[in-house]
């Protein structure tokens, strides 16, 4: 192993050597710089390998030939080597990225850069407090020096503000050091830690000054105006170092210093961390400047790590796993994002639309924000999971809630930004991307995924990157250059194969869901053959969603379940975002979904009491005081996915604006994830009571109200796909209602809805999508009379609406029949009233859908339309066949499930013998019904044909219309505001109260962010005053609390 002292000596020497070179020898100077940084990286990585693979012990490096405390000592351990590697790699990559700039600025800039990296390495390595001070000051000087080299007034101003703040920090630090020394008689950090008691007892202020000065180096909110200015104005490659490397080093310093203070000081770190995490993320909401936004985000992330540091007393051996995961993920992601910002010319967020034509860069961006937020399979995900579990087991629930709230804020602005990039109406011109810059960015991406792999290995929960479905989805990334049709074939084959492979492992419940997800998904994907070109981004997203779904139903422990849940959420988010107008809807989708996922995380953490691999079946044995809370959290999480009323506002836009073949995936398949979750929840937890309130009873009400309001809202829609989307809310309400009945038939009905809703909603979305494709509009009043032009689509819609409405003889009736039988033995009757009211309302919108699109008056501009494309029609016809089969023989799918449900509710099952299905209360014979209706219908039809054989086909306007013949279909087609009387009578029930509520929440947050960020006046002295005020406030608040 190379002596770590060289990590200091070599860069320092190289920096001096650069000073000796001639100014013109820029290439050699640059080569020396790169070589030095490469050397440092190599040394750090060799130590890292040594520590991690060969398990060598941490090494103490002595200087000046004597033992500490008489000389400075350095320490090299696993954590140090990781941090050093992070710092040096950031430096190396940044200097590659900075090639042009460094050539322009010359050797001095390179020397300062080397000193900068060296100083940060020093901060990590040193165990001497005064030495730490020296390295920190060196960092400050190097930072300010690098900023000084720019000729930009903005960054000069920022640099000066930074120096002012650093001066104050260094005064505090020095005073703190000297008094701590005075009390303890040593400058060695470990020595001081040994005398911690003495120091804290005699002079807590001295330690406080040490601590707070180092914390200030972390740029905590709100004492950080100067830092944000640097982030905003400096060269992005430099900001990358500042955000990734300096933050790493400073956190290391704080961590060391807290060894001296002991556990009593951890709440300080926690408090400051929380304030930073939430405050910075809140302020970032109001940002339109990309680099300032990233600055806020960095402050927030460092706040998060500070929180983690504040928890190290309880994190135990997981401390480094968690802190490291978040820290490294942040470092890689933020460096990557800053590097990317160098490719974009303007500083508004919308200027990033320039990346739109570069799928690789989009992928990079996605990876970075996923790293930041901690989505699977990145380190933050594992870390977050572990952290929340430990916190929950220690009862620090409030802290979890705050952390998750901050994370949600962060999600909001990061995903909004991403949405803007893909979907903002103006598209900035494509930017030039110098290859070395792009290479640097890609290496950050690789690093990020590599970290994901490593953390997966370290986690002990199972590495997500080994799961076949996720790997299969990732496989489509390198295949993106292939034509879409080929990829579609792969995707379909993959789904079907996975189903066949997994088939023996499914129990009946899983089988129903798996059949919908895998072969069902393949069926929907048939429609995707319609698309030509390469369709970049579709397949990785879709398969990521499918991977999540198929892992979800097989999940046995809470971690697998949660990982699958987040995966399917992300995949579906990208799918939704593909719609042209879907940016705001995709955003609200991801916010509600991740909000729900966070509740789930909290729920599992509470339930498991700290066991991160909590078997789902153990939900049954959660302590009784916790159980109702766990139930509520999980139920809300699942209901965000089924779009129960209150958390439904994302669904209509998301489903309606999605692409033709995406809508059925979302509606027919994705919604079922929530239902599956509810099944798992209810199977394992059953009924729960909170303060005497039966929670399943509450679910019953929510289901009923969702059904009613979903239907009500559907009837007022002018947009056909929105109508279908609202109808899904209602249908999921029915299913939720069935589940919440907590009896045999209720569950059977829910499952029937799972199957039926998949079939008819996929079919309807495809038909309407096909029509919309042909007519170029989704507004129903702009269509009309398409029956003769698009007969197959009409048939699909006709069958679909008969099935949805529950009219015999199609399968929807079976659902209704089971429903009535289920409520016969239900305990609560009042919610039924609402369901009863909801039922007939479905007819309203269904009739409107088919009438205004296919019947009525054909518009002039549609006279030449053709039937929807073959590939869109094909799955619809298959669905029609399915509906018929399912209508005749519902037992095919339900009989096994009925038996399965008997495990949970042995009574009230159905009797499937013969053709007639009987329950305790009634009977139903699908085949007889079909035959009787068929015979009657055919007889009467033949009779009409016979008596009416001379009927003449007449033209469109040959109608009796107040003795006139209208010639304008627009004025004769009754379609707009179809149910006006209904709106007059009951319109008050569909006031968008929920939407208004969530809008107000968003509005409040944004307004607060926008007002409060004016705190950062831009005045360097104000910042300094804020800094001092912060120090004083922390001191007094801290003392007050302690």
């Amino acid at each position: 192993m190379v002596d770590p002292i060289l990590l200091i000596a070599i860069p320092l020497g190289a920096a001096f050597f650069l000073g000796l070179l001639r100014d013109e020898w820029r290439t050699s100077a640059y080569v020396i710089t790169l070589l030095t940084l490469a050397f440092v990286s190599w040394v750090s990585s060799s130590w890292l390998l040594g520590f991690s693979l060969d398990k060598i012990a941490p090494v103490e490096i002595l200087t000046a030939g004597s033992e500490p405390p008489f000389s400075i000592n350095l320490r090299m351990g696993l954590n140090e080597s990781v941090a050093l590697l992070m710092i040096s790699l950031t430096g190396l990559l940044s200097s590659i990225y900075l090639k042009d700039t460094l050539f322009r600025l010359g050797r001095r800039a390179m020397a300062v850069l080397l000193v900068f990296v060296m100083a940060m390495c020093g901060i990590v390595l040193t165990r001497d407090i005064f030495n730490l001070f020296v390295f920190i000051e060196l960092t400050v000087i190097a930072t300010a020096g690098l900023v000084l080299l720019s000729h930009n007034t903005l960054s000069l101003g920022a640099g000066f503000k930074y120096l002012v703040a650093s001066q104050i920090a260094s005064i505090l630090l020095l005073v703190g050091i000297i008094f701590s020394y005075h009390v303890t008689g040593t400058l060695n950090i470990d020595g001081m830690a040994g005398m911690s008691n003495v120091l804290i007892q005699t002079s807590p202020l001295a330690f406080f000054l040490l601590f707070i000065a180092l914390v200030i180096e972390l740029k905590p909110f709100p004492a950080n105006g100067w830092a944000l200015d640097i982030y905003e104005s400096a060269h992005p490659a430099f900001s990358a170092i500042l955000s990734a490397a300096t933050a790493t080093a400073s956190l290391f310093a704080v961590d060391k210093i807290l060894n001296i203070g002991g556990d009593n000081w951890l709440p300080f770190a926690t408090g400051i961390g929380i304030l930073s995490f939430i405050g910075a993320n809140l302020f970032a909401l109001a940002q339109t400047h990309d680099r300032r936004l990233m600055g806020y985000s960095s402050v927030g992330q460092i706040g998060l790590i500070l929180i983690i540091i504040g928890q190290r007393d309880i994190l135990g051996e997981n401390y480094f796993f968690i802190a490291g995961g978040v820290l490294l993920a942040h470092a890689v992601a933020k460096a990557g994002l800053f590097w990317m910002s160098g490719l974009v010319n303007a500083r508004e967020l919308s200027a990033w639309t320039a990346l739109r034509k570069r799928p690789m860069l989009i992928f990079a961006f996605v990876s970075f924000i996923a790293l930041l937020i901690g989505l699977p399979p990145f380190p933050g995900f594992y870390a977050k999971w572990e952290l929340v579990h430990v916190l929950a087991s220690e009862g620090r629930i409030a802290l979890i809630v705050l952390i998750l709230f901050g994370a949600l804020l962060e999600t909001a602005y990061l995903f909004r930004w991403f949405g803007l990039i893909l979907r903002h109406e103006d598209e900035a011109p494509v930017v030039a991307c110098p290859s070395q810059k792009v290479a640097v960015i890609y290496s950050a991406v690789l690093l990020g995924w590599g970290l994901g792999y490593i953390w997966g290995e370290l986690s002990g929960f199972g590495n997500l990157l080994y799961t076949i479905p996720l790997l299969f989805a990732l496989l489509f990334l390198p295949l993106e250059w292939l034509p879409a049709k080929l990829k579609n074939t792969f995707a379909i084959m993959g789904l079907v194969t996975w189903f066949i492979v997994q088939y023996p492992a499914y129990d009946p419940l899983q089988l129903i869901f798996a059949a919908i997800i895998l072969p069902g998904g393949a069926l929907v994907l048939l429609a995707s053959y319609y698309n030509s070109g390469r369709r970049i981004g579709f397949y990785p997203s879709a398969l990521w969603m499918f991977a999540g779904l198929s892992m979800l139903i097989m999940a046995e422990d809470s971690f697998a379940f949660f990982a699958a849940w987040e995966s399917l959420t992300i995949g579906s988010y990208f799918l939704i975002l593909r719609g042209k107008q879907s940016q705001p809807h995709a955003l609200s989708y991801i916010l509600f979904s991740l909000g729900g996922a966070f509740l789930m995380l909290l729920g599992f953490a509470l339930a498991s009491e700290g066991n991160p691999l909590f078997p789902l079946t153990s939900l049954a044995s959660v302590a009784s005081d916790l159980a109702p809370w766990v139930f509520i959290l999980l139920a809300i999480a699942f209901m965000t996915k089924t779009a129960a009323i209150g958390v439904h506002i994302w669904l209509p836009g998301a489903h309606a604006e999605a692409e033709t073949d995406v809508s059925p995936l979302l509606s027919g398949i994705l919604l079922k994830a929530g239902l599956f979750g509810l099944f798992v929840l209810l199977i394992n937890m059953g009924k729960q009571q909170l303060y005497g309130v039966e929670l399943t009873h509450v679910l019953l009400w929510i289901g009923a109200i969702s059904a009613l309001l979903g239907n009500m809202m559907a009837i007022y829609q002018e947009d056909a796909k929105r109508l279908l989307a609202y109808s899904s809310i209602a249908q999921m309400g029915y299913a939720l209602f069935g589940l919440a009945l907590m009896n045999h038939l209720g569950w059977l009905m829910a499952l029937m809805f799972v199957v039926n809703h998949y079939i008819y909603k996929s079919m309807l979305f495809l038909s309407i999508g096909g029509v919309a494709k042909r007519t170029g509009t989704k507004a129903m009043y702009r269509m009309g009379g398409l029956i003769t032009l698009m007969p197959l689509s009409f048939i699909a819609v006709l069958i679909g609406i008969i099935a949805v409405s529950g009219v015999p003889p199609l399968s929807g009736f079976g659902g209704r029949w089971i429903f009535y039988n289920a409520i016969m033995s239900a305990e609560y009757r009042l919610p039924m009233v609402i369901i009863f009211l909801a039922g007939p309302i479905a007819f309203l919108y269904l009739f409107r859908l088919i009438h205004t699109v296919f019947l009525g008056q054909l518009k002039d501009e549609h006279r030449q339309l053709k039937e929807a494309p073959f590939w869109i029609i094909l799955p619809q016809m298959i669905y029609v066949a399915f509906l018929m089969i399912f209508a005749l023989a519902p037992g095919l799918a339900l009989q096994k499930v009925d038996g399965y449900i008997s495990r949970f509710f042995p009574n009230n099952g159905l009797n499937w013998e013969g053709l007639t299905i009987t329950s305790d209360f009634g009977y139903w014979s699908p085949v007889s019904i079909m035959i009787i209706i068929g015979v009657i219908f055919v007889t009467l039809f033949s009779w009409l044909l016979f008596v009416n054989r001379r009927a003449q086909k007449v033209k469109q306007f040959n109608i009796v219309y107040a003795a006139e013949r209208p010639y304008r279909p627009e004025t004769t087609h009754f379609a707009w505001n179809f149910f006006a009387p209904y709106r007059k009578a009951l319109g008050f029930m569909t006031q968008p109260l929920v939407t208004r509520f969530w809008d107000t929440v968003a509005e409040l947050l944004h307004t607060a962010a926008d007002l409060l960020r004016r705190l950062y006046t831009g005045d360097g002295q104000t910042y300094a005053v804020q800094l001092l005020a912060f120090v004083v406030a922390v001191y007094f608040l801290g003392n007050g609390v302690m």
Binding site: A144, T153, L163, I177, Q1021
Partner: protein, 118 residues
């Protein structure tokens, strides 16, 4: 004696910080910080001083054997040297900023540097 040094030191720090926060001219701010740094240095040295002892120079006047009881703490004095050096470095850097800001903006008013905010 050491209390006078310490008091002076803290007084200087306070004056320096007060100046840095209230003076809008960049050069005056730099001077104020220098003042504050001096105060810090004074505090450091003042901490190391022990009444009635001599300078930590080992020569004939102070034999090695008696050093521990006769000299003041040498470490703060060593620290102060480093602190001074760093202080000079930073002061120089600030002056360079002042110069460059002046050439670019034609003003030394810190309150005029507010382009970046919120």
């Amino acid at each position: 004696m050491e209390y006078i040094a310490l008091t002076c030191g803290f007084l200087l720090i306070l004056i320096g910080i007060y100046g840095a926060l209230t003076q809008s001219n960049i050069l005056r701010m730099i001077v104020a910080f220098t003042l504050a740094n001096t105060g810090v240095n004074l505090v450091i040295v003042g901490i190391g001083y022990i009444n009635g002892r001599t300078a930590p120079i080992l020569d004939t006047a102070v034999p090695v054997a008696e050093a521990a009881t006769r000299i003041i703490d040498p470490l703060p004095q060593a620290l102060v040297l480093t602190a001074i050096v760093i202080g000079v470095g930073i002061t120089a850097l600030m002056l360079a900023y002042a110069y460059k800001l002046f050439t670019l903006k034609g003003s030394l008013d810190i309150t005029a540097i507010k382009e970046l905010k919120w």
